[in-house]
């Protein structure tokens, strides 16, 4: 193989590499997972770990949708809507879970958040949300969700 052919083959190989990485996202888009926030055992500690403050302002603009009674704590469908403009971060916590933080959403194009998921609840508890918009932190607490069978194992 002469030099020209060798260079050509290099181009082909790197071309293949680029093509293959298009399908799957590079791992670098996955930022550091906030381990200390998920390990925190109180909701105040979670707020501190995530946003560096626990001075959140109570807001009526955040509304939850969650069952009054969850028969199976392993699968509790919840959703949250916040009528707060330019929100860029949402965290949802279960007050009585061993580690309260369940999920956080980081929104790159800030807007009015509308998110939903299914969570595990160990026992009857309230849900607490934190929403950050324009550097300010808002919070809201849901009505109690009664859990008849816990979903945190044991």
């Amino acid at each position: 193989m002469n030099r020209r052919e060798f260079n050509k083959s290099l181009v082909t190989i790197s071309g293949l590499g680029a093509g293959a990485s298009l399908g799957a996202l590079p791992l670098s888009v996955f930022a550091a997972w906030p381990q200390n926030a998920f390990d925190a055992e109180t909701t105040d500690a979670v707020a501190e770990a995530l946003y560096g403050t626990n001075g959140a302002e109570a807001s009526d603009a955040i509304t939850f949708k969650a069952p009054d009674i969850a028969e199976n704590g392993a699968v509790v469908p919840i959703s949250l809507k916040a009528d707060i403009a330019n929100a860029d971060s949402v965290a949802i916590m279960v007050a009585n879970n061993p580690s309260p933080l369940t999920v956080t959403f980081e929104i790159m194009n800030p807007g009015k958040p509308d998110v939903g998921t299914r969570i595990k609840m160990g026992k009857t508890s309230q849900l607490i949300a934190l929403v950050r918009a324009e550097g300010k932190l808002y919070t809201a607490t849901s009505s109690e969700v009664k859990v008849t069978i816990g979903g945190c194992g044991g």
Binding site: A24, A31, W33, V76, T102, V103, F105, I107, V115, G153
Partner: protein, 102 residues
Amino acid sequence: MAIKCKAKMQGDAVEVKALMKHEMETGLRKDSKTGEIIPAHHITEVVCSLNGNPILQCNMGPAISKNPYLAFTVSGPKAGDTIQISSIDNKGETDSGEAVVK
């Protein structure tokens, strides 16, 4: 393993729904036969991106139910765009899926 997802325009934002397949072990449960603690194995991050640029990132704890379901609205994509959803778990295993915005 693949992430199933759907994306639909709702006004000027896109409503994305995604369903992942994952055990989501908390690390708190014990094996009923051996009494040993089952090690934690759960998705830690889910990223939704448009043309390779992340538009929403979701951090998950072990308190998300088995076979996680996520729904969210984001602004940015328009009808006809393709969005990608990818996930990574605490063992470094990744998964992905994509949907065309309707």
